[in-house]
């Protein structure tokens, strides 16, 4: 099977500090990967790279066998195949429907098809009938589910999830785990960061463990840091343009 992503000699630095150093990593389509590691181990940096939001400082990233061209024109087509769901997702001002339909409109999906996909995605995350609610009036857990629905509605080839289950109650967590676990069967590759030591086992798939930005040796038992917080470090409106 051809790799979906191939990372060769990747280095990502913030100033003098190297936060990600991966010599060789291949990720295959239709699989589920859990990405573990302590805070600051480079998980979010790796997801940001895989989401094609920031080019590496050095090295080559290949997507479907082709080296990624970091130009706006080339990136637009690729980014429409890959969706990243941030740990503390941002919902646009407006209705839940408008939020879930945002990416569909950008792809020219309108009318009945748009309606169907939005309703289906909201149903998947257990929020049927929420379309007309104002996004800003939702609880934290509901907002997380709407953001998940917004990503699912796009039916992306790759879904990158940054701690999707960290800030939700147990019921929602179980519901979302079921949704995530079923995605590879539908052909979606899932790469998900987590701090929960049980997730890799429970969700199946493969585990990638990072220590200080580097891949841990196979068979390494990860040291889990249970603390989760809202991470906006490194996120900025100007950084990605």
């Amino acid at each position: 099977m051809n790799a979906l992503y191939r990372l060769i000699g990747i280095r990502q630095s913030h100033g003098e500090r190297t936060v990600l150093a991966i010599d060789d990593l291949a990720l295959f389509p239709g699989k589920l990967y859990t990405l573990t590691g302590a805070n600051g181990s480079g998980k979010t940096t790796l997801l940001t790279l895989l989401a094609l939001l920031a080019p590496p400082t050095a090295g080559e990233l290949r997507y479907e066998g082709e080296p990624v061209q970091w130009t706006n024109a080339a990136l637009l087509g690729l980014r429409r195949q890959v969706t990243l769901l941030h740990q503390s997702p941002y919902l646009f001002d407006g209705s839940v429907f408008a939020n879930v339909a945002f990416g569909l409109k950008l792809r020219g999906i309108r009318g009945d098809e748009k309606q169907r996909r939005v309703e289906q995605a909201l149903e998947l995350v257990g929020l049927p009938g929420f379309g007309q609610r104002r996004a800003r009036e939702l609880s934290g857990g509901e907002a997380q589910r709407v953001a998940m629905a917004r990503a699912l509605a796009l039916e992306p080839k790759v879904l990158l999830l940054d701690e999707p289950l960290a800030n939700v109650d147990r019921g929602t967590s179980e519901l979302l785990e079921g949704v995530i676990a079923a995605l590879p069967e539908r052909g979606t590759t899932v790469i998900m960061t987590t701090h929960d030591p049980e997730h890799p086992g429970r969700l199946g798939g493969e585990q990638i463990h990072l220590i200080a930005g580097e891949l841990a040796c196979p068979g390494f038992v990860p040291e889990i840091n249970a603390s989760t917080g809202f991470q906006t470090e490194g996120v900025s409106n100007r950084a990605y343009l």
Partner: protein, 228 residues
């Protein structure tokens, strides 16, 4: 005291009777200010957003210049534009001096730094996740910036309204570039200055009351928008 009460009564009578001179000055003021703010918005909002979301050498200097320009005295703008559009100036052949177009030119220059600066502050205070979220949902760079402005629309509207407040209330540019020609370039502020100088205190007061009412209405409008 009796003088003030009597003047106030006369001013109200002038407003209620829709005195021709009052109406013309009000219409000229509002139309010149609206055109100015339209042009200032077209230039100032993109400038504020661009400075806010990009990093470039000399950015601090640009921000400092923008801040300084916010406090630009209206007579200095009047003087500079006068030099450009007067008969011997580079744009002298266009014959703009003492026309509403000249006032729009000057007031646009006056409003651009205000609109740009307020927009810049709004962009700087924006949630850092807006553009990354739009990009990861498939937006291109331009679409993601458009989404950023949509999210910040109330802040940007406040910037525009602040600019409108500045131009509707200014007198220097209107007087120097418009020339205070009755029925043509006479605005509320130039009329107030002139009528008061002539001792026509009631007419000045009538226009002052309308000017305050316009400012109040604009702010009420902004308030209603922000509560939506």
């Amino acid at each position: 005291m009796e003088f003030l009460a009597e003047t106030f009564r006369t001013a109200l009578a002038l407003i209620l009777s829709l005195d021709g001179e009052v109406v013309t000055a009000v219409v000229t003021s509002i139309s010149v200010a609206l055109w100015s703010i339209l042009f200032a918005t077209l230039a100032g909002v993109p400038a504020g957003v661009a400075v806010g979301i990009t990093e470039f050498p000399g950015k601090r200097l640009v921000i400092t210049i923008l801040n300084t320009l916010m406090a630009l005295p209206t007579v200095v703008v009047g003087l500079a534009v006068y030099g450009i559009i007067s008969r011997q100036g580079p744009l002298g052949e266009l014959g703009l001096l003492f026309t509403p177009k000249a006032m729009i030119f000057g007031q646009t220059i006056l409003a651009i730094p205000i609109v740009a600066n307020f927009t810049l502050s709004t962009v700087k205070g924006a949630d850092p996740r807006i553009i990354p979220t739009a990009l990861t949902l498939g937006a291109g760079p331009f679409q993601s910036i458009l989404q950023l402005t949509r999210e910040l629309r109330f802040g940007i509207m406040a910037a525009v309204i602040a600019g409108f407040g500045r131009v509707i209330a200014e007198v220097g540019v209107a007087m120097m570039l418009g020339g205070n020609i009755r029925g043509y370039t006479r605005t509320m502020t130039t009329a107030i200055a002139m009528e008061t100088g002539k001792g026509e205190f009631a007419l000045g007061l009538a226009l002052g009351i309308i000017l305050m009412a316009v400012a109040l209405l604009v702010n009420l409008f902004l308030n209603i928008l922000q509560q939506r």
